[in-house]
Amino acid sequence: VGRYDRIDEDLLEEIESILLQTDVGVETTLRIIDGLRDRAVDRRTRNPDDLMDLLREEMADILGDAPAPASDQRPRVIMIVGVNGSGKTTTAGKMAARYAGEGKKVLIAAADTFRAAAIDQLEVWARRAEADFIRHQHGSDPSAVVYDAMQAATARDADVVIIDTAGRLHTRDNLMEELKKIKRTTGKQMDGAPHEVLLVLDGTTGQNALSQARVFSEALGGLTGIALTKLDGTARGGIVFAIGVHLGIPVRFIGVGEGIEDLQEFDAPAFVDALFN
């Protein structure tokens, strides 16, 4: 590798500093830079523009483009999980609106029975999305709400069930147990449920997001995807590369605002471009 021009090493250092500043993390950044060097040697890439194209290709590859788990089961059951304040309730509302807009019958389950006014907050979103809404009293068992929602979904012939859960830190074992029970409840009511388990990650989160993804994934037997929120700010969400490298979990959606329309399907090349702007 001693055949490198000085410009290439300078460019690599510049790329390294950009990646580190977008929360890609030390280890994954080094991996990406090493991978880039290998690709550049393979293809005998010399000029900076071509090197950047190689980089974009490598990074888009890490993120993959795996489609959502296919299933023609009805209703499709989607569980929304994540740490406190990441944007779960808002994302649940946006997703409900998206499906309703596609002509689907949506039912939302208010499984956050703990936080102050959580049910009220989700109810507003259900009305906005024109979705059915299943709730119990504040303080009741979240799994009971989910049981009730699964029954209602069958009775009302719903296409989609979206389960909003309470925010919880992945370091709280008892709260992770509660989440497992919610998941089991859907599975007991319907073989194959939940069809999607979506981890909602705040786009401003640093390296802790990797730990969150790991623990939630382990607890729930896998995550089908990530919704990365608050990308309308200045954070870049580079941590999803570390998650891609270590856990292979794809990003499905990004949140770009607080409005009902502010949900986008994930577009890896566009995301990589935004990282470098």
Binding site: S17, V124, T171, N208, T234
Partner: protein
């Protein structure tokens, strides 16, 4: 009490007679890596390393410490002094009420912190009143009202008012009439790059003159912490910061970034969802947590 990378530094310098530029540089590479892994901002880490290098070079030979121990000692000391003072209190106004305003990004923990601060002030014998000035987020007002009920503290909300400024003014006015000596203003989460929303905060500040403006920051924030802290501080001249959700396992490097860029104290740390889960800030504990 040394773990991870710091312990590695002591090990790697074993057998070296004294600190030289070469072995200092090698140690600092490891320190930099530790800081970045702990979410310290890239540029903040670089400034920190430069400062430490100067101190290490100027240190000379210490008879009773190995070069590795010296190095770790300098890093620790510099980090602790950067973290600032322990347990800086909210300034109580000479003539009541003391007005405290909370601000920050979406979901950082402001509404919960409003409740926690109220609990904290009640414990110190004060009589708080809360202003539910988030008119945007669905059920935000209700959320604060529920907390107020739990604490038996009044919450000011103007039923159909869409003006956060009006709500804050009414809260200050009611404090005077109802003999409440602390007013805590809960504002809506907003982006520092949302000019209109930042102007709203400036407007509240200009009309109500809070004695204390606290930036509420999520403890798991990564590189972006520097952008957020700088923008809010430039717009509002904040008095300090509350770092939330530190009951998790985030290393909390955002704390160093915020301190470096604003020089304002971290006054409180959120350590749970309950209203009593608020601690005063301990710089030494934070330094150890970041260095890992």
């Amino acid at each position: 009490e040394l773990t991870g990378r710091m312990e590695g530094i002591v090990r790697n310098l074993r057998g070296q007679g004294k600190l030289t530029e070469k072995n200092i540089d090698e140690s600092l590479r490891q320190v930099r890596r530790a800081l970045l892994e702990a979410d310290v901002n890239f540029k903040v880490a670089r400034t920190f390393i430069d400062t430490v290098k100067v101190k290490a070079l100027g240190q000379g030979v210490l008879r009773n410490l190995s070069p590795g121990q010296q190095m770790v000692g300098i890093v620790h000391q510099e980090l602790i002094s950067l973290m600032g003072e322990e347990a800086v209190e909210v300034a109580i106004a000479e003539s009541p009420p003391t007005i405290v305003m909370l601000a920050g990004l979406q979901g950082s923990g402001k509404t919960t912190a409003t409740g926690k601060l109220a609990h904290h002030f009640l414990g110190a014998g004060h009589r708080p009143i809360l202003a539910a000035a988030d008119v945007y987020r669905p059920a935000a007002v209700k959320q604060l009202q529920v907390l107020g009920e739990q604490l038996e503290v009044p919450v000011v909300a103007l039923g159909d008012s869409r003006s956060p400024l009006a709500i804050c003014k009414v809260a200050v006015d009611r404090a005077g009439r109802e003999d409440r000596d602390v007013v805590i203003l809960d504002t809506a989460g907003r982006l520092h790059v949302d000019e209109e929303m930042m102007e709203e905060l400036r407007g509240i500040r200009g009309a109500v003159h809070p004695h204390e403006i606290l930036l509420v920051v999520d403890g798991m924030t990564g590189q972006d912490a520097v952008n957020v802290a700088e923008a809010f501080d430039q717009d509002l001249d904040i008095d300090g910061c509350i770092l939330t959700k530190m009951d998790g396992d985030a290393r909390g490097g955002a704390a160093l970034s915020i301190r470096q860029i604003t020089r304002k104290p971290i006054k409180f740390v959120g350590v749970g969802e309950k209203l009593d889960a608020l601690e005063v800030f301990h710089p030494e504990r934070m330094a150890s947590r970041i260095l890992g």
